[in-house]
């Protein structure tokens, strides 16, 4: 049952929120041991919340558009009084004194927070193998990764533990796991969803967004969490967009471009490498489906996207090295004692951070250090300008762009853990949208040769989530 119809039934008094929550807790009980989607399941809290919602409805109240719908939250979203670990030992046992704005808005919409999902430590990773609390496995094939960093949220939706989940996306951390787990995943326009209460990784790139089993449910969730928030200075002033109202409008007359540089293949010299043939074939098939539905589909060129990966893996670590300086054993989380404050800082950070976080902190510190700043960080910021300009040029001709979400289907557990650069390549198609600040989303579209899901990425210019969702709905309806 979809989130939208569940909420409708609960609001109409046809179904109790309690029964909805009990059903999902039962699914978690039955299969969580095999998947490890959660760092924390909030069984008692979600049952109490459901009873409260049922009482309000019995008294004639209306809890809102997500009434009684369980939502799983990535464990880097602050929840007041509830453990928020970011998948890290350094925050183990920390209970934030406030809720993230997105979490507040879920509460205002009548949702039930059912648990905190596992993720790569501080959202750094593409497989959810970098969590200090062990990996999450792909519910469709537990020998494969679920993608990352929001792999727990993707797995929770794919496994039926929750109809909706929130993740965060700095370089693809919602869209890539959505693709690998066969769910819908959306990175909204930068500033569309308040980052207040999202533990910061790369502040100019981070964005909270939805996971859902259907395009409609993803629209429902984004409508609920989006919109201006005075507590985030980068929050855009626009109201949350009407998405549910446009889903049925189709793509007749839209101009859609397939990004040549993200399609790979031997005949495309100026393209990123590593795009699997079966993934490329599905994207081409998706393009045909959009053309059949009345869109004009052509090849588009966004040349500088091939430099996105290199620029991103200097910019994001640079921002992370600054953001993660706050984890020093003084104000929250872990402290490992030392004779002096600097010794305590070093002992705490050395024990508290995992290898991937250490790599990125060091890489970022290097890229920002005297003598290397201009060569690495400065040049990367200029490449970011090139990417934004190239997108602007492409959007003079096209309404939307299309690409694979991930270069391959879900890869085997352990395959890339010793080769960070190979892991980073999983984000090659998703990174450009973060650098530009544009919205994009992954829609499941058939399977690869291994029978695992392929995600097609729909990209839109800033603020145009509505047109993006129209194309996503058409793709969903044409899924092979």
């Amino acid at each position: 049952m979809s989130a939208r119809s569940t909420a409708a039934a609960v609001r109409a008094g046809e179904r109790s929120a309690l029964s909805v929550v009990e059903e999902h807790l039962a699914a978690i009980d039955a299969h969580e041991d095999e998947i490890h989607a959660f760092n924390l399941v909030l069984a008692d809290e979600s049952l109490a919340r459901a009873e409260e919602l049922d009482r309000r409805i019995a008294d004639g109240g209306d809890p809102g558009p997500l009434a009684g719908v369980p939502v799983a939250l990535k464990d880097n979203l602050c929840t007041r009084g509830i453990d928020t670990t970011c998948g890290s030992r350094i925050l183990e046992g920390w209970r934030p004194p406030y809720d993230a704005t997105a979490v507040e808005r879920l509460a205002e919409a009548g949702a039930v927070v059912i648990g905190k999902t596992n993720c790569d430590e501080f959202a750094m990773g593409s497989s959810t193998e970098n969590s200090a609390f062990g990996p999450t496995l792909n519910p469709l094939d537990t020998s494969r990764v679920p993608g990352g960093s929001s792999g727990g949220s993707a797995a929770a939706v794919a496994a039926g533990f929750a109809p909706l989940a929130l993740g965060s996306d700095t370089g693809g951390s919602i869209r890539q796991p959505a693709a690998l787990c066969g769910t819908v995943g959306v990175k909204p326009t930068y500033g569309r969803v308040s980052r207040y209460g999202l533990v910061a990784f790369g502040s100019s790139l981070d964005q909270i967004g939805p996971f859902a089993a259907t395009v409609e449910d993803a629209a429902l969730l984004l409508e609920a969490i989006g919109g201006h928030d005075p507590r985030d200075s980068t929050s855009i002033p626009e109201a949350s967009p009407d998405l549910l109202g446009v889903l049925g409008q189709g793509v007749e007359g839209l101009r859609i471009g397939i990004i040549s540089e993200l399609m790979g293949g031997p005949d495309r010299a100026a393209s990123v490498e590593g795009i699997a043939d079966d993934v490329r074939a599905r994207v081409e098939q998706a393009a045909e489906a959009l053309a059949t539905a009345g869109a004009t589909v052509e090849h588009a060129s966004v040349p500088s996207t091939i430099y996105g990966l290199s620029a991103y893996y200097l910019i994001a670590p640079a921002e992370a090295s600054s953001n993660l300086a706050r984890f020093d054993g003084v104000r929250f989380g872990l402290r490992v004692d030392g004779d002096t404050a600097p010794e305590m800082n070093t002992a705490t950070r050395t024990a508290g951070f995992g290898d991937e976080v250490k790599r990125r902190i060091m890489l970022g510190t290097y890229a920002l250090s005297a003598g290397y700043y201009d060569a690495y960080y400065g040049r990367s910021q200029k490449v970011r300008t090139l990417i934004q300009r190239d997108f602007a040029r492409a959007y003079e001709t096209f309404d939307l762009l299309l690409s694979p979400t991930a270069p391959t289907t879900a890869f085997p557990v352990g395959e890339r853990t010793d080769d960070p650069m190979m892991m980073y390549l999983a984000d090659v198609c998703t990174i450009p949208s973060n650098l530009a600040g544009h919205p994009s989303m992954s829609v499941p579209f058939g399977t690869g040769d291994d029978g695992l899901p392929v995600g097609v990425q729909v990209l839109a210019p800033a603020l145009d989530e509505a047109t993006m969702f129209r194309a996503a709905a058409v793709l969903e309806g044409a899924t092979p």
Binding site: G329, D337, Y366, H438
Partner: protein
């Protein structure tokens, strides 16, 4: 994988940034991280070919403007809650070891 002797990044460079970032590395970790970080810098060498002289840097997707709110008194006293989450407190403050290494 790149050897630790990669000209882009030496073992000493990594030891230096680890120190700046308040991270202690074992010798084995230093070797492994040096190779892995050099791989990333090698990949980023594709940016060297770009002519970026006349391109302005971009720090944020949209122009940032300063945001001010009305200066109204509120009652957001979360001091007790914040201190409760800290590893060590004393007299309503965060407690830390001596910064300069002298006995307290």
């Amino acid at each position: 994988m790149t050897s630790p002797e990669n000209p882009r990044l030496s073992r000493e460079d990594v030891a230096h940034v680890a120190d700046l970032a308040r991270l202690a590395l074992t010798d084995d970790e230093l070797d492994a991280f040096t190779g892995q970080l050099a791989d990333v810098l090698d990949h980023a060498a594709d940016l060297d070919a770009l002519d970026l002289d006349d391109v302005p840097p971009m720090a944020n997707p949209f122009p940032l403007v300063n945001v001010l709110r009305a200066d109204e008194p509120g009652n957001d006293d979360v001091r007790a809650e914040v201190l409760a989450a800290a590893p060590s407190v004393e007299d309503g403050r965060f407690r830390v070891p001596p910064v300069l290494g002298e006995a307290p």
